[in-house]
Symmetry: C2
């Protein structure tokens, strides 16, 4: 069905009409000028926002819209957990070009709602408009926390342990794999066109992902680490500093150290890597440590705890101690497997 058949208001209504509001703090969801929320007395409100642009943050040639909806929610939910908070509400704005159908948007919302349901988050509004070019997705997520629970980036102290959840670099390797298969596919199309073949009669393209399923999942369907936050709380461990790993471990360590006025030392041999990540990096002739440090999109948690918590934090499943915080004058160091120390470089985003 074409979106024009429903119109702007019809589309919003269609996508949001069956959304149940489950949180007691959600007083009014979509349908008015604003959503209206009412938090328990004494709670702090957390707000995070992300703007995702087609061609920069996602490629619709290989990302199904349902996965895109899911991931768009996760990247925001992850920021709430990174403050040690609890996600509560989400607003979703979409700018759509003409090529999208109502069914496309239903698929997007299906993924979005799956993620929100898994994390107890109400969809409370948004905005749908036209785009002359690609798809733009803007999500704002709101969470809450007791003031004494909120964890900032600036609380790391000398000798604190540096911990990471899950493993690193897999989402980045998943992206490399998808890019490779896309190139193979485009190359096949090009050759068929040169031979004058009818492209619509080509056999369906079979991308080769065997043995790399985990990497694809990490790229296409990342998770926000609610489980780690809950496990730490259960153990009574409150991180001194925390953030999620979206731009890559190295970049995030720079944020924590700069805001906490510290240095750090992490150990290459302690970086958590999945077997598939290491194996594909080797196949692609890439340095797996570089992938783990700068890959990005892991959505794992990076946090610091006092040294005295070592035994308790090391016992939490899915958490690995990778190094420790140092005095600022020691800088940010990676201790390589051979014992050599290297300065950790931050890789940022560059204008393209």
């Amino acid at each position: 069905m074409e979106i024009a058949e429903l119109g702007e208001f019809g589309l919003i209504r269609h996508l949001t009409e069956n959304i149940e509001l489950k949180n007691p703090e959600t007083h009014k969801g979509a349908g008015d000028d604003c959503a209206v929320l009412e938090f328990e007395a004494g709670r702090q409100v957390l707000v995070t926002t992300d703007l995702l642009m087609e061609g920069v943050h996602f490629d619709l040639q290989y990302v199904p819209l349902k996965h895109l909806g899911y991931k768009s929610a996760i990247v925001n939910l992850s920021d709430i957990y990174a403050m040690n908070g609890r996600p509560r509400q989400m607003t979703v704005s979409l700018a759509l070009s003409k090529r999208f159908s109502v069914e496309d948007m239903e698929a997007f919302y299906e993924g979005l709602r799956l993620a929100c349901e898994a994390h107890g988050c109400d969809i409370v509004g948004g905005d749908t408009s036209a785009s002359l070019t690609g798809l733009a997705i803007s999500i704002t997520c709101i969470g809450d926390a007791r003031p004494e629970d909120v964890v900032y980036r600036n609380g790391a102290k000398d000798t604190d342990l540096i911990c990471v959840s899950g493993d690193l670099g897999a989402a980045y390797m998943g992206l490399q794999l998808l890019e490779r298969e896309k190139m193979v596919y485009n190359q096949q199309l090009l050759e068929a066109r040169k031979r004058g073949e009818d492209l619509s009669k080509l056999p369906p393209f079979q991308p080769d992902f065997s043995g790399h399923e985990y990497l694809l999942e990490r790229q296409l369907k990342p998770e926000a680490r609610k489980d780690i936050i809950e496990a730490l709380r259960k153990e009574g461990i409150r991180p001194t500093a925390m953030m999620d790993i979206s731009d890559g471990l190295s970049s995030e360590l720079h944020h924590i150290c700069s805001q906490s006025h510290t240095g750090c030392r992490i150990y290459e041999e302690r970086l958590p890597l999945d077997y598939q990540t290491a194996s594909l990096a080797e196949e692609f002739n890439m340095n797996v440590t570089t992938c783990a440090l700068n890959g990005g999109e892991d959505y794992e948690l990076l946090f610091t705890v006092p040294l005295t918590e070592h035994d308790r934090v090391a016992a939490v499943p899915g958490v690995k101690v990778i190094g420790h915080i140092t005095k600022p004058e020691l800088g940010l160091q990676l201790v390589c497997r051979d014992g050599v120390e290297m300065g950790l470089k931050a890789q940022g985003w560059k204008a393209i």
Copy 2:
């Protein structure tokens, strides 16, 4: 200066480093995974969001970036006032293509900050990323209100008076004017090119806006009606339903009547029009009533009050009573100057 020189984090820091946080509810602004807010006990939190896309919502050929920043903030602030709330915080996400410079973004932020300062709103975070195509702007505004003050769209009752602030249709006529001058300019360029002239040596284009300054201001620098909200509060008038006029009076009346399960009757002769709006509509051979009903981007307030408030609301400067709420079976009617009643049509957005 090219944005690449600063990088993503450098640009965000540069744009936000001098932002003072003034509201006691703003516990932590930009620089962490989330902003952290702490509202007074017993207040409701209002959330609104808008996504603005280049080529759909604005045309950089005639909109200066400082004005664009100002207007981007205003459209969100207006939604908070439309709930009878008070704006408190804002997050700002931008997706930028390579053609923008650091100075461009400074100009955008200058406008943004002007609007936020005028409305007591803290800028508490956001996101800057690349765009392959045009500029995308996503703003989320957060406000607060006492629960008993919040006004929804669904509270209008039979016989309530329908009121509008300011005047209607001027922003739309301002847009028509800008589009005309853009066409004249592009035509001149085309002809000069045909004649083989050096385009860089053409005399600077002088658009003809004389006598239409008000229309331009309404299009390029709209205001959010904080003053009306304050005046109503001072008079002790609490609207039964309210929203801001962004898509056009007719479309907004449909929202209020459909959510309140009512009809309405408004009077053509009572629609507030500025002289410049009427005069340019005549020049362009357009029906000025249609402009006032469907023009959009007025950012005025549309609200209903009990009939008993007639004398008090009519005495509020800048407010005009344009009709009244009716039983739902009477539908939405416009009473024309000649006494004929016509059904009010809602014009929505269509996919382009």
